[in-house]
Symmetry: C2
Subunit: 356 residues, 2 copies
C-alpha cells in the first residue's frame, strides 16, 4: 500500500502579514481560489485515495484543515502535540502507517509548497515508489531554475538506471544552503538538484534508519507506538513529545542514511517561501506587476500587490512588495522580503500578539 | 462690526485617500485631535465671537460642520448650491454680511489651512481690519519659507507704513505660480510673499469691486440679495447660481482692484495641500519618520506613515508616503504626492465611486 504523509505544521512566518498563528501557511489562498493545503491534497488524486492520505499537524489546525479536505477520514489527521522538527514529525507518521500496513511505502510531502506540473509530480511519485520498494530512501530533487541560496542541494552520484522514464541516481551528498558563488558552480555543473524536502521510502526502511541513527528518539517512538489504538495513546504522546530532541530529517537521517537515491525532476515546484517567490508563481501584467485585489496605479512596475477588498493606489513604484490584510499592512522593496521574519520577531518581542 | 467668513468648500483631492466626497478636507483630523474646521474656528477666538463667524459651504457639509462647531449660530452657515470658485463664494458671503451690517469689515479665511502661531494670526487680523477700515483690500502675504512653485506670489510696492507693529505695503502685482527659477529670484529679493488666499476688507469695498470688475455677476448677486430674508431666497439662489460664471477672487477681483495692500506675516501657515506639506507640519522621529497609527519598521527613514488602526510594517523604505484608511491605501514616493490628483481622476473616469 502507498501512503502520502502531508506535513502541515509550518506557520510560514515570511508570509506575514497574511500568515498568522491562527492562519498558518497551509490555510492561505496564495495561488488561485484554493488554500495551499487544498492544492496539496487535490494534486494527489487519483494516485492516492483519501484513505491513503495522512496529515501531521498541530491540534489547533486539525479542524480548519479537515474543513478544507472533508474527504479525508478524520482518523487520518495525526496530531503532533508540539513541533519538534521534521524528523520526529515523520517518525510519528511512520509508526501510524506501520500499524496500518507494515510493508507499505510512504511519500513525505509538505502542505506549503506549490507544484505547477501536477501530472508529472504524480508520475515521479509513482516511479519513486518503485525505487523505494527496492529499499532506497528516495528524495525528489528539483532541477534548479536559478542559483538559489535559499535551499540545500543534493549531489548526484552513480546512476541507478531509470524508472518510469525518470533517471535515478545514488545521492553522493547533501549540502547545506550555499553561498551564491558555490550555488552558481553547482547549478552550472548539472550534477545538483534542490532538496525539496519530499521523500519516498518504505515505512520499515525509514524506521530502521531512525533506530540506527537516532536511537534515543526511536526508543521514545516505540513507547508511543506501543500505545497506538489504546486509551493511553494521547497521554503518552503528550508526555513523551516534549522530551524528544528537535531534529530535521536531513541532519538526523538523510545525511547518514544508507541507500539514498535522488530523482531529479522539473515539476514547476516552488516552496513559496517568501513574497518574492510567490510573485514568481503568479502571472504578471504587462508592466511586470503581480496584482491581487483592487488596484489603481500610476507609473508602477515590477511590483507585487497582494491585497483583498481595500483599494491600493500606487504612484511611482518599482520593484516593491505591498501586502495588505484586514488588520496589517507590509510595504518593502523586493529583495528584502526575507526580513519579514525580523518584523515578526519584533512583534513577538514587543508583545504585540494581536498581529502575530 | 468685524466678521470672519470661512470658505469651507474644498474637498482636498490631493489628500486622498483620507479626503473623500463625503469626508472633505475641512472635516479631516490631519493635525492633532481636531478637524481642520475645528482648528479654523477655534483660532478665531477671542477676536471673533461665534455670532461674528460665517461659513460658506455646500448643503451636504452643513450638518457635519455644524456638529464640529456647535457654538456657531445655525443661520451663520451660508449654503452655496454649487461651487463656482472663490469670487462667487465671497460675493455670496458679502451680501449676507451687508444685510447684517453694511459698514462692517470681513476677513475671508479658509477651512483647510493650518496656522501654527495663532496669537500672531489674530494680531495681524486685527491690524488688517484697521487698514481695511481706510478702504484698502488687504491680503495676508505669507513670508516664504521656501521657493515654492505651488503658490501665487504678491509683490510689495511702496510702504503704507505700519499698523499694530506690522508693515503694510501697497501691492505692486499678483503673480501666478512661478517656475522654480523665478521663485528662487522672488524669494531672494525679499519683496514677495505667498498669496495665502486670506483677505480683509470692508464689505462695501469688495462689493464695489465686484460691481466694477464683474458687473454681470454683480447683477446676479443683487437679484439674490433682493430675496434675502424672504421665502424666495433659496429658490432664487438655486436658479441663479448655476448661471454664475466660475471665477477666482484673484483673477476676478484682486488683480485689477484699486487700493490693494499686503501685510507680509510669518504665522506658521501651511495650506496642507498635499501629504508632503502635512508631513512638514507633523513632528518627525529621529529617523525622520512622521508616523500616525501603529507602525513597526526596519531600516525606514524620512517616510510619512499616516495610518489608523491597522498595523503598518515597513522594511527598507526611504522618502516614502504611506496613507492607510479603512477602505483604501496609498503608497508613493515623496515628491510625487501631487499625482494623487491623477489617481482620483482615474477613479472618476473608471466610475469607481465607492473610493471617491
Amino acid at each position: 500500500m502507498y501512503y502520502a504523509l502531508i506535513m502541515a505544521g509550518g506557520t510560514g512566518t515570511r508570509l506575514w502579514p497574511l500568515s498568522r498563528r491562527d492562519r498558518p501557511k497551509p490555510s492561505l489562498r496564495l495561488v488561485g481560489e484554493h488554500t495551499m493545503f487544498e492544492h496539496t491534497v487535490d494534486r494527489l488524486a487519483p494516485l492516492f485515495q483519501p484513505e491513503q492520505i495522512f496529515v501531521v499537524t498541530g491540534a489547533e489546525h486539525v479542524a480548519p484543515l479537515a474543513r478544507q479536505a472533508p474527504e479525508l477520514p478524520p482518523d487520518n489527521f495525526i496530531v503532533e502535540p508540539e513541533g519538534r522538527g521534521t524528523a520526529p514529525c515523520i517518525g510519528l507518521g511512520a509508526i501510524h502507517l506501520r500499524r496500518q500496513a507494515p510493508e507499505s511505502i510512504m511519500a513525505v510531502l509538505t502542505a506549503d509548497h506549490f507544484i505547477t506540473d501536477t501530472a508529472r509530480f504524480r508520475q515521479v511519485l509513482a516511479a519513486a515508489a518503485q525505487v523505494a520498494e527496492e529499499g532506497h530512501l528516495v528524495t525528489l530533487g528539483i532541477t534548479p531554475s536559478s542559483p538559489s541560496t535559499g535551499f540545500g542541494y543534493i549531489k548526484q552520484g552513480e546512476s541507478l538506471g531509470t524508472m518510469g522514464g525518470f533517471s535515478v541516481f545514488r545521492v553522493e551528498r547533501f549540502t547545506e544552503k550555499p553561498s551564491l558563488e558555490t550555488a552558481l558552480h553547482m547549478v552550472e555543473s548539472g550534477e545538483y538538484s534542490w532538496n525539496s524536502g519530499m521523500f519516498v521510502w518504505r515505512v520499515d526502511r525509514i524506521l530502521e534508519e531512525f533506530q540506527r541513527q537516532m536511537p534515543e528518539f526511536y526508543v521514545q517512538l516505540a513507547e508511543v507506538e506501543a500505545t497506538l489504538g489504546t486509551a493511553g495513546y494521547e497521554a503518552t504522546l503528550r508526555r513523551i513529545w516534549p522530551q524528544v530532541a528537535k531534529q530535521t530529517i536531513d541532519y538526523g537521517v538523510m545525511e547518514g542514511a544508507q541507500r539514498v537515491a535522488v530523482i531529479p525532476v522539473d515539476i514547476g515546484w516552488s516552496d513559496v517561501g517568501s513574497w518574492g517567490s510567490l510573485s514568481e508563481l503568479l502571472p504578471a501584467n504587462e508592466e511586470g506587476n503581480t496584482i491581487a485585489g483592487p488596484h489603481v496605479g500610476i507609473d508602477t512596475r515590477d511590483t507585487l500587490i497582494f491585497g483583498g477588498k481595500r483599494l491600493i493606489a500606487t504612484i511611482g513604484l518599482e520593484g516593491m512588495v505591498i501586502v495588505d490584510t484586514e488588520d496589517a499592512l507590509l510595504v518593502c522593496p523586493r529583495g528584502r522580503e526575507q526580513e519579514v521574519r525580523a518584523i515578526v520577531r519584533r512583534l513577538e518581542e514587543d508583545g504585540r500578539s494581536e498581529w502575530l
